[in-house]
């Protein structure tokens, strides 16, 4: 765990202008290592979702830089950014965000088609991934025909489609009940261990913290504290 996969330097993001401006991130610098399971923790409004968006190339900072695989994403053209999202990053959202008009399998194959994989290959891998997340019997169901937990599993399979280096999960358990949430966490941890994919997850779910290698605490748009797993265990999480 020495290779740095994401690095941010003094990232500032504000919304709005003038007096009404809200500073969501006030200079965040951090390093995230390949293969780790990282949780970004903080109360709502602390800027953790904004940081998540910055790391994922979903939004651009007002100042400072974000490097993904040593590439400054502010320098990328829209097309290069699309390429980065397609190949390097997989996204999981609190609200699942599946494409409602397509089936589970089609949701998983779509990113592969963007990556130029042949339809046959994409379909084979799509089935494999749905099997992996335990949805082998739901290939042709549309999202509306699936439960929340099942939808999130499809989203996880989809995020893995192009073998990304990083999976970004924005409160992946936020809309799920306790048991289903635990299953999703276990699945993410398993994928992290078996596929060596870096998982970065914004959360305020304490169960999520138990499995994290490191925890970033965000307060008022700043990185207030970085805890390793050992520290979190000894100091107690529930402060």
């Amino acid at each position: 765990m020495s290779e740095i996969v994401v690095r941010t330097t003094d990232v500032v993001k504000q919304y709005g202008e003038g007096e009404a401006a809200v500073r969501a991130l006030a200079g965040v610098s951090c390093e995230i290592f390949a293969g780790e399971y990282l949780s970004i923790m903080g109360p709502s409004g602390s800027g953790k979702s904004t940081l998540f968006n910055m790391i994922g190339g979903l939004d651009k900072p007002n100042s400072g830089s974000v490097f993904v695989n040593s590439v400054d994403i502010a320098q990328l053209t829209p097309r290069e950014l699309a390429f980065l999202r397609c190949h390097t990053i997989g996204y999981i959202f609190q609200t699942f965000n599946l494409i409602t008009v397509r089936t589970a399998l089609e949701n998983v194959t779509l990113p592969m088609l963007f990556a130029g994989v042949t339809p046959e290959e994409a379909e084979d891998r799509g089935r494999e991934l749905l099997d992996l997340v335990g949805l082998g019997h739901r290939y042709h169901h549309r999202p509306t025909e699936l439960s929340g937990g099942q939808q999130q599993r499809v989203a996880i399979a989809r995020s893995l489609a192009n073998r990304p280096a990083i999976i970004l999960a924005d409160e992946p358990t936020g809309n799920l009940d306790l048991k289903t949430g635990q299953e999703i966490i276990d699945l993410l941890r398993k994928l992290n261990e078996e596929q060596q994919v870096t998982i970065i997850s914004a959360t305020h779910d304490h169960k999520m913290l138990d499995v994290s290698d490191r925890i970033f605490h965000i307060r008022d748009g700043q990185l207030a504290k970085v805890q390793t797993k050992a520290e979190a265990v000894t100091s107690g999480l529930h402060d």
Partner: protein
């Protein structure tokens, strides 16, 4: 680690085509309403055109009234079509944001909406042109050739309006940062 070579990430056209078809199929009733909106506007336009063709040689005052009516029908049609398409794109900002996260280029998103608007526009406009032109043509005994010409023109007008009204907001949505598109709630 070196920056990877950036290749052309656009998938073949059938991927966009399938996405557009799925969207029409699954949202059939929603899309039907949109298409009826287009059809009504175009029906008005086609009927005025047919009336004008069916009663030629009127006075100058009649002619200018006809022109005025024709202009009005076009404006009404434009407003109706734009309204329908703006709504149907606005409802889908989230979907646009999601597809962007999956690695779609801006061009792909615009292409999906282009294909969808073409299909909706063509079917809606043709239906409207038929409803608007044929009954009046039968009553006023307008020649088949003229009716065909009017229907063709109306369909083309309807299609181009639909495509223009869909592409403008879709292109704007495609250009937004993905996070902003995901945040939009309609």
């Amino acid at each position: 680690m070196q920056k990877r070579d950036i290749k052309n990430t656009d998938p073949p056209l059938w991927v966009a085509w399938n996405q557009a078809l799925a969207s029409i199929r699954v949202r059939f009733f929603r899309q039907l309403v949109t298409s009826i909106g287009i059809a009504l506007g175009i029906a008005f336009f086609a009927s005025v055109m047919t009336m004008r063709a069916g009663a030629p040689g009127g006075s100058a005052a009649d002619e200018s009234r006809m022109r005025w009516l024709l202009g009005t029908s076009l404006v009404m049609c434009l407003v109706g079509v734009t309204n329908s398409m703006l709504m149907s794109v606005a409802e889908r900002y989230r979907e646009i944001g999601t597809i962007k996260c999956l690695g779609a280029s801006d061009g792909f998103i615009v292409r999906v909406f282009f294909i969808e608007a073409m299909l909706l526009g063509a079917s809606g406009s043709f239906a409207g042109a038929f409803i608007g032109a044929v009954p009046i043509a039968l009553i006023q005994h307008v020649s088949g050739g003229t009716v065909f010409g009017i229907m063709l023109l109306s369909t083309l007008v309807g299609m181009s309006m639909t495509v223009a009204a869909a592409i403008a907001p879709a292109a704007q949505a495609a250009k937004m940062p993905a996070a902003a598109a995901l945040r939009v709630d309609v």
